[in-house]
Amino acid sequence: MAGIDNEGQWIIMMGFLVSIGIFFLAIVISQSTLVGQTTAEGVLEFPKNDIQDLRHDVLLVEKFEREGCGCSTPGCQYGTFGCDSNMTEIREDIKQIFLYRKSAIVNITLPRCGGGSYSREVGIHFNNGVTAYDEYPITIYC
């Protein structure tokens, strides 16, 4: 072994360097295939339709309450016990539906519109663990 010349070892080293470079390229390329997948999945993951639906429904329910809970009998008007109990049930409906079918926590703030107040400030809170949406206040004139 004493007669082995070390001069040619640079050839092997060049070979190794090129191999490492190719491996690095392979790692970079393997990351790139994840990008496209995440784009469409990101769209699916964001609860745009849920939030729009919730917002639309809360405003619909707010208007329903402000106009007397749909009752036509004299005693069942806004601010009376009949309307209050209806509203409590409706809010519970929305909370349970979103909790069990959409795995989201929803909290709706609907202050009363009586006592001389000029407007009411509605609040919506939505959180499905990945996306949180808060809107406060939505000012609606009584």
Partner: protein
């Protein structure tokens, strides 16, 4: 006469060449340049289409004579439990509207089937009843793609008519919110 001390150069050259070729072969064999997310793109398009259709079905087209919004088509169908009407409207009127020359047929074809359920709250739990179920022959199962779920909250003024026995007992006859859930899939 010929020195053989430098044969090492040849061997090193061969060895280096072999290393590079082997590496390239390994790398090319392992990275797959494939088209990712195709299924998810179709899901995204289908989900958007379904949500749009439910939103449109739930929007009244005009005010009444007393300037109140009319009852929307969707609320009417849920209030009367109009099963066939829901399918005809959802799939026939919008998804497969004849005469519309859509530029692409990925989302919106006669191969899409739906199943609709209504969820309502009974005390502290949710219960459901079927609004529309597809007929028995669902086509070739092995070619079925995963389904997409779209939902819409509807405001009911009372208990709907035409309910099955369990739902008509458990649903309360007061103003309430219910969730219409539609499962869409391609066969």
């Amino acid at each position: 006469m010929v020195k053989d001390g430098a044969q090492l150069y040849t061997m090193e050259g061969i060895a280096a060449g072999l290393i590079m070729l082997l590496t390239t072969y390994l790398v090319l064999g392992s990275t797959s340049v494939y088209t990712p997310g195709d299924t998810h793109i179709t899901d995204m398009q289908l989900e958007q289409v379904g949500s749009d259709i439910l939103k449109i079905m739930d929007t009244p087209r005009n005010l009444t004579n007393s300037l109140r919004p009319n009852q929307s088509d969707l609320a009417l169908m849920v209030n009367t439990t109009d099963q066939q009407g829901f399918n005809t409207s959802f799939v026939g009127t919008y998804l497969n509207k004849p005469g519309i020359s859509a530029e692409a047929t990925q989302s919106g074809s006669s191969r899409i089937m739906i199943k609709a359920t209504v969820w309502f709250r009974n005390q502290s739990s949710l219960q459901s009843y079927q609004l529309y179920a597809p007929p028995g022959n669902l086509g070739n199962f092995s070619a079925r793609e995963p389904g997409v779920r779209v939902t819409r909250l509807v405001h009911l003024s009372g208990k709907p008519t035409g309910l099955g026995p369990i739902a008509s007992v458990n649903m309360r006859n007061k103003p309430q919110e219910a969730l219409v859930e539609v499962l869409m899939w391609q066969v």
